[in-house]
């Protein structure tokens, strides 16, 4: 089911026709969005806190270079190494090289969307190393040979029955696989030994704190912590916009992140790592690396759309998005699904290839309402459409149609004439029943819809100046 971004329309149709996917997506009616709404009740000044969070991010982005240097100096003083990588290719090479140096055979990894962006697992496997995802959702997706469909719950597109089938095929043991509980237990048992047997643990990071040289890793399962504590080498792979100035700033984001992501006041585990194990400690990695990836993000710095880099990857925007909830995450065709993907993917992976991503919107604005850092997602989506038009990304036909529409809409006389003609034409097409089942030039759109023929006249008819 690996889809490419240009297959968006085909993928969307397949997704809408898949009963199991629709069943899994249906859980969004009762799952995360409801929990989120409940958790927000314990944060009555949500509006104030998110304004503050947005401000901290804007400040950090403005002073990114200086803060990153400060972060790096602190980590180095703590005995760790920071690698700043401009491209995905640089980052892949850096991680593979660190793993080679410590002769890693087995690597345990906790969820990190940035490593998805880098296709890091492929690179490590090509270098002859075994990589094991340990977050339950990521593990399921890895067994299925798929990619995550959601940035917080990578396997939310799968039903329990599908997971049971996967476990049966891969674990080759006989056991009961009827309840979610049994499946969680099975994964726990299978993965447990792997942490002890791995030479390297790779995790992501949700925040980097300049003040203390600290990477903050937020999880619910505790898998990232086992990846941190047990292997001899810990590599944090993350992206450049994660840097914030101080620990106090972190407190602001912690009040927002878990509530927005999973509807908890706080995730079970929030872990602050600042270097290799300290003097006298008997546990924790002896070598510690942080790989910070640009990957195209710096193109946004100083632009009108810089606010995109405020994103804390909470996933709230996709949980309420009618498009996401209909077509699922895979249809977007690249790493980040939902509203944030629709605007970020083009920056990181090209406006041409990701063209359909920023078309996939109803402009209902539900995403902006929940976004904990107030990213103007629909505005940026419009900006990208304008940009695509200017860069002639849509085909000639589409551009001509848009141009014609703009010409008519900008001229009241023409507009009235066209709109006035529309009503009798639609009525004629609808026939006696007064219902339209198809429309010229819009058969695709009408495929799953019926339209009542317009009744009466236009509101603006005959209005005199």
């Amino acid at each position: 089911m690996s889809k490419t971004p240009l297959d968006f329309e085909k993928g969307a149709h397949e997704a809408l026709g898949s009963a199991t996917l629709q069943q899994a997506l249906g859980k969004f009616q009762t799952g995360y969005p409801l929990l989120r709404a409940r958790a927000m009740q314990s944060l009555p000044d949500f509006e104030k806190v998110r304004t503050k969070a947005a401000r901290i991010k804007d400040f950090s982005l403005k002073n990114l270079e200086q803060l990153t240097n400060q972060y790096r100096e602190k980590v180095e003083a703590n005995g760790g190494t920071v690698h700043i990588c401009e491209t995905a290719e640089d980052a892949r090479k850096t991680v593979v090289e660190i793993c080679r140096q410590v002769e890693a055979k087995k690597i345990t990894k906790s969820k990190s969307m940035v490593t998805e962006e880098l296709a890091l697992n492929d690179a490590l496997e090509a270098a002859g190393m075994e990589v094991l995802e340990t977050d339950l959702g990521e593990y399921i997706v890895q067994l299925a040979g798929e990619r995550p469909s959601h940035i917080v719950g990578p396997a939310l597109h799968k039903t329990k029955e599908e997971v049971a089938k996967l476990f049966k095929a891969h674990h080759k043991t006989r056991r009961k696989r009827e309840t979610g509980e049994q499946l969680v237990r099975e994964a726990r048992e299978v993965l447990r030994e792997q942490y002890f047997a791995s030479e390297v643990g790779i995790t992501g990071a949700n925040f980097l704190i300049a003040e203390t040289g600290t990477a903050v890793i937020v999880t619910n399962e505790g898998n990232a912590d086992l990846c941190r504590i047990l292997p001899k080498t810990h590599i944090v792979v993350t992206s450049m916009e994660k840097v914030i100035p101080t620990l106090d700033d972190l407190s602001v984001f912690l009040r927002l992140l878990a509530r927005s992501a999973s509807g908890q006041e706080m995730t079970s585990y929030t872990t602050l790592v600042s270097g290799p194990r300290g003097p006298g400690e008997s546990e924790g990695p002896t070598s510690f690396h942080v790989v910070i990836v640009d990957g195209g993000r710096s193109k946004l710095l100083g632009t009108e759309q810089q606010a995109l880099l405020r994103c804390i990857k909470c996933g709230a925007c996709m949980n309420v998005c009618p498009v996401y909830m209909s077509v699922g995450g895979h249809t977007y065709g690249w790493v980040y699904p939902g509203p944030i993907g629709a605007v970020l993917n083009p920056v990181l992976n090209g406006f041409g290839t990701m063209y359909h991503n920023y078309q996939a919107s109803t402009f209902c604005g539900a995403c902006e309402e929940v976004c904990p850092v107030k990213i103007p997602l629909t505005k940026i989506m419009r900006d990208w459409r304008t940009r695509a038009f200017q860069e002639r990304i849509p085909g000639l036909g589409a551009r001509l149609a848009l141009w014609l529409w703009a010409a008519i809409a900008a001229n009241p006389f023409l507009y009235n004439l066209a709109a006035g003609a529309g009503i009798p034409i639609l009525r004629a097409l609808a026939g006696k029943k007064g219902v339209l089942k198809s429309l010229p030039f819009a058969n695709g759109w009408m495929k799953d819809r019926v339209l009542d023929a317009p009744e009466g006249g236009r509101f603006v008819r005959g209005r005199k100046r």
Binding site: T30, G31, R192, T212, G222, R228, L247, S268, S274
Partner: protein, 171 residues
């Protein structure tokens, strides 16, 4: 108005942790024995080597002060602080406090003194800034391990402990 200790306890429970209150550290071993019995576990545990936990008499329990291994089922750790706002325990790694105690055993008991409770995480940062060097690993633990990865349904004990017992010590 709830007291800080009450708010903390309420939030721990809200995050699916269990709360026990004892008058002094000396009462902890008896509580642990009782818990082990209720859970059907052998009376043994791996315990943080924090000085106040080393000093007490663990009679009736087989305790070892070391990091947790794959075979350990019950771990006892010592928090440096508890945050009332969220019911969060804070652990700083160090010679006597291996982080594995909080993650490997299936049942986790965490000990915090009521005098170590604070209102918000900001207050914890103020305490930590005084520590030199800054701890390599700081674990903030809020309730037991959980996952929502299967059909957005909550299950406990994903990779870390399935039960978290927080023992609040009065004095």
């Amino acid at each position: 108005m709830k007291t800080r200790a009450e708010t903390f306890a309420w939030n721990v429970k809200n995050q699916l942790g269990k709360v026990h209150q004892v008058a002094s550290l000396e009462k902890v071993p008896a509580l642990v024995r009782r818990l082990a019995e209720q859970l059907g576990l052998e009376p043994k545990a791996v315990v943080a080597a924090a000085s106040d936990l080393k000093d007490i008499n663990w009679k009736g329990l087989e305790v070892e002060h070391r990091p947790a291994g794959i075979e350990d089922v019950l771990g006892i750790s010592r928090a440096m602080a508890g945050i009332a706002e969220t019911g969060t325990l804070v652990f700083a790694s160090g010679k006597s406090n291996p982080p594995s105690l909080n993650f490997i055993p299936e049942y986790s008991i965490a000990i915090v003194r009521e005098s170590e409770l604070v209102d918000t995480s900001e207050e914890v940062w103020a305490i930590l800034r005084e520590k030199q060097p800054f701890p390599a690993t700081i674990n903030m633990v809020t309730g037991p391990s959980r996952t929502g990865d299967i059909e957005q349904t909550l299950f406990l004990g994903a990779h870390g402990p399935r039960e978290l017992h927080v023992v609040m010590v009065k004095s």
